[in-house]
Symmetry: C2
Subunit: 171 residues, 2 copies
DNA sequence: ATCTTACTAGTAAAATTTTACTATTTGCCT
DNA sequence: AGGCAAATAGTAAAATTTTACTAGTAAGAT
């Protein structure tokens, strides 16, 4: 929930937005860079409204159905500062789905394990190529996105290396 | 929930266990290797019981209060095989809390950003040292844990490198 | 002219997760 | 002997998240 607040406040800091726009931004633009999934935005937005962090105003553009424009309040700005600082200094052990399988590796036949690991590595290499392609197309003034991407690439690389050396021990 | 099932089934595959033991295992032994947090185990266990994946038997050891021993059923074994295979072949973009802050970096003063990033790197280096110490003490027959750990170390390293090069661009 | 897809706003209900408790027994400390 | 921590089992209620819908307009496709 804390991350959700940071997310919404950050998006609204960039300018007021209506719900659908927020949803689209999260799904399409943020998701590739920030693996934070949110299925429904209205509950958290309502909660933040209750807390006085965002305002909801009725706005009507063109002849579209009503739009409710959400915007950040001064209190929201304050909380944003607080949350982003906290987030900079918080280190969570990230969750990698593969770790669970590795933890249970002793319960998998070696032959099968090797096969699965090899298949995974193929997928990972494909992802790596996609990320590298993305990196080339990134806009020049978005330094921070480039950092996130190159971090991602390093991570995928690290997983490929780890799994490759694991395969060699499975004989 | 799917990960939870895999987790419980894997733990019970190793042998029947009672609730408290499962909880302790997750909190103390798995957590460092698998960043999966579970606050309450009974709801998922009950659900899995309903699905016929685990059995709950009353057992009494010594004079302790009643113990309910959970064990995996044949159906549970089957599902375990299925889930672990699926999990091997699933790649999720991991969530790194720092990515959100990086995404919003343009909203932070450069000077402040540099300070926060430097502080984070100090933390990360501390974690790196801890992980390396852990790696030395790991039991010799647990190859897979060693892999998870060295993967972790590579990840922390990757973050340190990314953030360091980011700091240099923030002038 | 009509059909489909995208844009917009949600809500109700179901499922899950988190929080905050209650209760009993044993073993250890003072 | 008395008290506290750890071992053991949860549950009830609150909070949150997910799922599955409803509804209407505009723009583009056939």
């Amino acid at each position: 929930m804390i991350e959700h607040e940071l997310l919404f406040l950050g998006l609204l800091k960039d300018g007021p937005k209506h719900g659908y726009e927020i949803k689209r931004l999260i799904e399409e633009e943020l998701f590739p860079f920030v693996g934070l999934k949110i299925k429904s935005i209205y509950y958290p937005l309502k909660k933040m409204e209750r807390l006085g962090l965002v305002n909801k105003d009725v706005g009507r553009e063109g002849k579209w159905p009503e739009k409710y424009i959400y915007s950040i309040t001064p209190k929201g700005e304050k909380i944003f500062e607080h949350l982003i600082t906290e987030n900079f200094l918080t280190i969570e052990r990230p969750y990698f789905n593969i770790d669970l399988s590795l933890y249970f590796l002793p319960f998998v036949e070696k032959k099968i394990a090797r096969r699965r690991l090899k298949a995974r590595i193929i997928f990972l290499k494909r992802i790596m190529r996609d990320l590298e392609a993305l990196e080339k197309n990134i806009k020049p003034n978005t330094q921070h996105l480039r950092i996130i991407l190159s971090h991602d690439i390093a991570l995928v690389n690290a997983e490929i290396n780890s799994l490759s050396s694991l395969i060699e021990t499975l004989i």
